[in-house]
């Protein structure tokens, strides 16, 4: 498949990646940013929670509030990364719209910025998503600066509130620029330009939270993209049941110790594997019933390094 056909399988331009904590959403977001940079394209990978997860993943020093190249992709593409800080975003915003200059710095000095983003958490989210919107829609000399923006978003438990910016600010700001800013963000997030992808493991809690998040996003009219099953493992047992007698004969035939301890140990491992796989199958069915397209990523045996990310990127494009 040509690279433009492959990237066309992910039609949105702003890809919001969420998932329960521990499901690997940062890894998936990074792999998606690499994948979408195929064919000489440029992507931006954004984080908003001050965790410096991107820097850790790529093994680089903490990211400043600036767009930095973190990876090149064969074919001339590149991934840049940005850690959005709400204070910096507010100052930038003030500067852009009000030319505050030195007054802006004074505000920071007296703690006004900290105050503003603390007292009005909705404001903080508008600033963060506002910055993401700015990067998504930014053009230079008539050309888009980024072919795609991938946001490593807050986890499933908070994603609805995070993206539902107008509801939060409407409560505080009834008129004025903050209101129009949040409305601009809201309409981008509800347009086909955006897709929210939900990363999950085939485990009960992450699947339940994913289903809840999909329902919540649906009721907010925010477009859900794909369900990404992360760290999946192949079924290693083709048979539906395992007996000790069978294992005893098999171990003997293989010239391995076939004492009672070895046989029952191996049987216990095989049965646990079967239980696990059956649970995974039923969870997979539940996810399929949402009707959302799914893509599966394998568990990386050697942990996540650059070649692992590339493997995941390739699976995202072909799966």
């Amino acid at each position: 498949m040509a690279s433009n056909e492959r990237t066309a399988r992910w039609p949105a331009r702003l890809h919001v990646v969420t998932g329960k904590g521990g499901t690997g959403k940062t890894t998936v977001a990074a792999a998606l940013a690499l994948a979408l940079a195929e064919g000489g394209r440029r992507t931006l990978l954004v984080e908003v929670e001050g965790r410096q997860g991107i820097a850790q993943l790529f093994g680089i020093p903490p990211l400043p509030y600036a767009e930095r190249r973190v990876a090149g992709v064969p074919g001339g593409g590149e991934v840049r990364a940005l850690a959005v800080d709400p204070e910096e975003a507010l100052l930038e915003y003030l500067d852009m719209f009000y030319k505050l200059g030195a007054a802006g710095r004074a505000l920071r000095k007296v703690g006004a910025i900290d105050f503003a983003t603390t007292i009005a958490p909705g404001l903080r989210d508008v600033l963060l998503t506002g910055k993401v919107k700015e990067a998504t829609t930014r053009s230079r000399e008539g050309r888009r600066v980024y072919d795609a923006v991938v946001l490593d978003a807050p986890p499933t438990g908070r994603i609805g509130r995070f993206l539902n910016v107008t509801a939060e600010t409407a409560r505080l700001a009834k008129v004025g620029p903050i209101k129009s800013q949040s409305e601009g963000v809201a309409s981008l997030l509800r347009s086909p330009i955006t897709a929210v992808h939900v990363v999950t493991l085939l485990e009960e809690m992450p699947v339940q939270e994913s289903l809840d998040a999909i329902t919540e996003l649906g009721s907010l009219h925010i477009p859900v993209g794909r369900i990404i099953l992360n760290a999946t493992q192949p079924a290693l047992l083709t048979a539906a049941k395992v007996t000790k007698a069978e294992l005893k004969r098999g171990l003997s035939a293989a010239g391995l110790p076939a004492d009672a301890g070895a046989v029952s140990g191996l049987a216990a491992e095989a049965r646990a594997h079967l239980t696990r796989r059956r649970l995974e199958e039923s969870l997979r069915t539940e996810l399929t019933e949402t009707g959302r397209p799914m893509v599966e990523l394998p568990l990386l045996d050697r942990g996540v390094d650059r070649s692992g990310l590339e493997e995941l990127a390739d699976r995202l494009m072909s799966g």
């Binding site: 009000y98 007296v110 006004a112 620029p177 140990g265 191996l266 239980t275």
Partner: protein, 378 residues
């Protein structure tokens, strides 16, 4: 050097252990661990125990008979009370807890004004940190009643495990901050502005806020700030008291992690913080650790035997089972490697591990099994 083993039973049985705080990254099984510890303290050690959960999975909450978020400890039925213990469980209602704090520190009329203010409404339900602060507030309240032998606390699913330690201080710093004082300065000086550097920069702020947010918002904000002002001392004092409870030797922190890189890194950050803050770290619980049941067979040996069986076209089930064993051995090796990043950095911190369960836990029997695994000898 081997890591000392965490003796969970000794910790739970010790009458001087009054509070156990379970903390760690999201998705590592904190709530399940807290519930299992509470159950074991009640059933095995006969202690009157309450488990404070923050955001339990629906089925886990149901397993303890919790159906609503109502801030009231409910006795968990269907447990073994032969040892004389009781288990109660509650889910934190963040907003109600905040309301209670406000009510405790101001007049009913003032409280009504505060509740009606849109800033209060936003802050009490969404301020990142309110949940952490209110969890600590609730812990302080439970401790103050002196009704419980043991309080087990699950911590909020924070962005980072550290938020939970920082939030009370952040909130009190915020409430005591320069910004707030500046907003109050005109009111305190009888409405006349003082010609000082402070009010000059406040003027800049006020103008900027007016310009950006509009006048209505500024009015709401001033109202909120003025109302909060009456509760200043109270907030500050409570946050300080909670902090002292956390430093008390009767409190024990348990770090909960899964043998995954991020979770272990988070646990290590947290351990560093606890040491810095002089808070009592009891040990590390490594959840979801995989174990092999067939000891003494290497991954390589199992794989080559499986390949030989395949080649002979015999015993396909045994060949599959051997490959499952090989994958499990590799996984346990990888997990052990991840765990050493913590134990190498904190060799003196005791640890225990709980085997990965093939399916999630959502009944009392499951919690009992986890409790037994937590307490089991290595």
């Amino acid at each position: 050097m081997t890591t000392p083993h965490l003796d969970v039973d000794a910790l739970l049985a010790d009458p001087s252990t009054k509070i156990v705080v379970c903390c760690g990254a999201g998705g590592v099984g904190k709530t399940t661990t807290a519930a299992a510890l509470g159950l074991r303290a009640a059933e095995v050690h006969g202690r009157r125990t309450v488990v404070l959960t923050i955001d339990p999975a629906r089925r886990l909450a149901q397993s303890m008979g919790l159906t609503e978020l109502d801030n009231t400890p409910r006795q968990v039925k269907a447990i073994d009370t032969e040892a004389g213990g009781e288990l109660h469980a509650m889910m934190l209602d963040m907003k109600r807890t905040f309301d209670e704090v406000v009510e405790a520190h101001t007049t009913p009329q003032r409280a009504a004004e505060i509740f009606a203010n849109p800033f209060y409404q936003a802050m009490s339900s969404t301020f990142s940190g309110t949940q952490e602060y209110m969890a600590m507030e609730k812990l302080g309240q439970l401790r103050a009643t002196d009704e419980w032998d043991l309080i087990v606390v699950d911590t909020p699913p924070s962005r980072s495990a550290l938020d939970f330690l920082d939030a009370p201080a952040r909130l009190s710093r915020f409430l005591d901050g320069r910004m707030l004082r500046m907003l109050l300065a005109p009111a305190r000086s009888g409405g006349r502005s003082m010609f000082s550097l402070v009010t000059a920069s406040f003027g800049v702020f006020s103008r900027a806020v007016q310009k950006i947010l509009g006048a209505q918002l500024l009015t709401d904000l001033s109202g909120f700030v003025a109302a909060l002002d009456s509760m200043f001392g109270g907030f500050r004092q409570r946050a300080d008291e909670t902090y002292r409870i956390l430093q008390d030797p009767q409190t024990s922190f348990l770090l909960v992690a899964a043998p995954e890189r991020d979770a272990v890194r988070e646990a290590a950050y947290f351990a560093e913080r606890l040491v810095t803050e002089r808070m009592p770290l009891a040990g590390l619980v490594l959840n979801r650790a995989h174990r092999t049941e067939m000891t003494g067979m290497s991954a390589e040996r199992a794989e080559s035997a499986a390949a030989a069986l395949d080649a002979a076209g015999e015993h396909p089930v045994t060949a599959d089972a051997l490959r499952i064993h090989a994958a499990l051995v590799r996984l346990t090796e990888r997990e052990a490697g991840v765990a050493t990043t913590f134990t190498d950095a904190f060799p003196a911190v005791a640890a225990t591990s709980v085997a990965a369960q093939p399916a999630d836990v959502h009944d009392v029997d499951g919690l009992r099994a986890i409790g037994a695994a937590l307490a089991a000898a290595p």
